[in-house]
């Protein structure tokens, strides 16, 4: 395997009884890439991301995450990925500082590392004066940026974002994406699911899932050309309609 590959999936499948949620998908994501994973609700996005993060066992197929096999090396995968779920995923009743300390703690960071990380995150997000405020009281956009920073607390190789920006306006989404770019520039691979088409445009490459299968894969530019349109919305609609 090449050192530039972060995620490699071959014929990955998940069945729940007779229902095939994810049907033999194939894809390859390079290190430092921002990879968008699109699809309508129920297309199998969340199931796929749960398999890649080790929350759910595949029924068949292969997957290699950060150089580790999804069947045999789940523990190593867990140490090397970050995860931010669509359900906003910090503890609302803990302060910003306590949240960072906790996540640093469960990833085995030393006290010194945790302190350094805390200062760094607070500074980057300009949250110093709110450090001891309970997370619940922050505006949603701030919470999401904080959650992203926390999912990076152990310097993972890959960060999985499952609809990270639900419920915020395009301007706030844009701010969130600035952070994603910064991380990617440092070599972190970003695997993001979304159903906002403006967000899809921000990705290096995207794939679109329909009914458990990947129906299109390429850069936003390529896909727009292929479907002969100038916006992603239409690409998406055309794909979903033909199926």
């Amino acid at each position: 395997m090449k050192t530039t590959t972060a995620i490699e999936i071959k014929d990955l499948t998940k069945k729940f009884g007779d229902f095939t949620a994810v049907n033999a998908i194939n894809l390859k994501v390079s290190k430092g890439e921002i990879f968008g994973f699109l699809g309508a609700n129920g297309a199998g996005k969340t199931t796929a991301i749960r398999m890649l993060t080790g929350l759910s066992m595949p029924s068949s197929g292969e997957a290699n995450i950060a150089g580790f096999d999804v069947y045999k090396q789940r523990e190593s995968i867990k140490e090397n990925i970050g995860y931010m779920s669509q359900k906003f995923s910090l503890y609302g009743d803990l302060s910003i500082r306590q949240n960072i300390r906790f996540y640093g703690g469960i990833y085995g960071l030393s006290r010194k590392e945790i302190r350094a990380k805390t200062e760094q995150i607070l500074e980057e997000l300009q949250l110093e004066e709110y450090a001891d405020k309970v997370v619940e009281e922050l505006p949603l956009g701030w919470k999401q940026r904080l959650a992203f920073a926390v999912s990076n607390v152990h310097d993972p190789a890959i960060v999985f974002l499952d609809e990270p920006t639900g419920g915020v306006d395009p301007v706030t989404r844009r701010q969130f994406w600035e952070m994603i770019y910064e991380s990617a520039a440092k070599g972190v691979t970003i695997f993001v699911t979304t159903h906002y088409m403006d967000e899809a445009e921000y990705c290096d490459r995207i794939c679109i899932m329909v009914a458990g299968k990947i129906e299109a894969l390429g850069t936003p530019q390529e896909l727009k050309q292929r479907f002969d349109t100038d916006n992603m919305d239409e690409v998406f609609l055309k794909l979903v309609r033909t199926n």
Binding site: T3, L90, F102
Partner: protein, 385 residues
């Protein structure tokens, strides 16, 4: 694989599992301390329960309905009856003329205690032949029954003192008390063991199941499962704070029973505390089990209320003696952990017995704990797959 190898090697080599565990437990304490309502439940409810049960059980009473079966009909028996009435504690609602009638009046529920005055009461008394009064009480409400008996005995002694006056001759009125329906008086003093059993169940099981269900509901459980935390650490980390808090609670309730309500502890205190921890483990295992089955806090709450709290209160012999329950409920009471724990507590606290007597209920609790843990573990692994 440059970017991944370094990290994994570093972490797996010096994985400070204990530190991670401590970080987890700390976070749980933050939750508990931040949430005032939880704290109130943790420490307020036990105190309230003990006081409520303590005082409703041991409080004074007025105008208890009693019946008299006067087989003497002499001057002294009349005086004695007046004496009982004069205090205001007893109200004579019935005069009975046979033992059959006594049973009838108990069954109708109108009478809580019957005083049987023997034939030749006065004659025997003045001759120094120690007549024997019989006090029959309806012990299906055991605490009330024993209070009535105590009062009546006390008043009888007082009556005897008054009658003797200055005479030095030892006139004695004997008292023979009988508990009807529940002869061994199975729940007098029961309230402290019962409250301990109830509170430990409430706090340990309900709070644990709630706290795990909350992580699921908020979606933070996914984050924990995605992290390198082993499931065992997640469960232990969740359970540990509640073990500590419940244990403090147990000690607090036992101390309140001892100092406020004079419930004795005749047996070995260390043994008592160790067995408290055993029961705690049973309750916690149940809590974890319930939480693996419920996706939301509400489901966990309902689950623990109906499957733990109500049976613990109603079927464990805490409020109602098991021996006076219908057959079916007696069988059900066998699968309720509190049944065994109350037996243990009563044995150690009130009878002062050791392990040689209570090994059986202790064994059952241990087996129950292992059984619940095994199922919970199986469920939990299904989730994390």
């Amino acid at each position: 694989m440059k970017f991944s190898l370094n990290w994994s090697a570093l972490i797996s080599k010096s994985y400070p599992m204990f530190k991670i565990f401590v970080a987890f437990v700390k976070k749980e304490f933050y939750h508990i301390l931040r949430d005032r309502r939880t704290l109130v439940i943790l420490f307020g409810i036990p105190i309230a329960l003990v006081l409520i049960f303590g005082y409703t059980v041991t409080n004074e009473f007025k105008g208890a309905s009693i019946a008299i079966f006067d087989r003497a009909h002499d001057e002294l028996s009349q005086e004695y009856i007046l004496h009982l009435q004069a205090s205001g504690h007893f109200e004579i609602v019935d005069n009975t003329y046979s033992y059959e009638e006594i049973e009838e009046s108990f069954k109708s529920g109108e009478v809580k205690m019957t005083v049987v005055i023997p034939p030749d009461f006065g004659k025997d008394f003045y001759r120094g032949e120690n007549p024997k009064l019989q006090l029959l009480a309806d012990a299906s409400e055991p605490n009330y029954a024993s209070t009535l008996i105590n009062y009546a005995s006390q008043m009888t002694r007082q009556f005897q003192l008054e009658k003797m006056g200055n005479q030095q001759r030892p006139f004695q009125i004997g008292i023979e008390s009988r508990m009807i329906y529940n002869p061994r008086l199975e729940s007098a003093y029961n309230f402290i063991p019962g409250v301990v059993a109830l509170i430990l169940m409430l706090i340990s099981a309900m709070m644990t199941s709630l706290t795990i269900a909350r992580e699921k509901e908020l979606g933070t459980m996914d984050l924990l499962l995605v992290s390198p935390l082993p499931p065992l650490i997640i469960i232990l980390g969740k359970v540990t704070p509640y073990i500590i808090l419940s244990f403090l609670n147990a000690v607090m309730v036992l101390a309140m029973g001892y100092f406020v309500f004079d419930v004795p502890i005749y047996g070995n205190v260390i043994l008592l505390l160790i067995l408290c921890i055993l029961y705690l483990s049973t309750a916690l295992a149940l809590g974890v089990l319930i939480s693996t089955r419920s996706q939301t806090q509400q489901a966990a709450m309902m689950g623990s209320l109906f499957s733990l709290l109500m049976p613990t209160m109603l079927l464990s012999g805490f409020l109602f003696p098991i021996s006076s329950m219908p057959r079916l409920l007696q069988i059900i009471s066998n699968v309720i952990p509190a049944t065994y724990f109350i037996e243990i507590l009563k044995g150690v606290m009130l009878k002062g017995v050791g392990m040689s007597v209570i090994w059986f209920p202790s064994m059952i609790l241990l087996l129950m704990t292992l059984f619940f843990l095994a199922i919970a573990w199986k469920n939990f692994n299904v989730i994390s797959k």
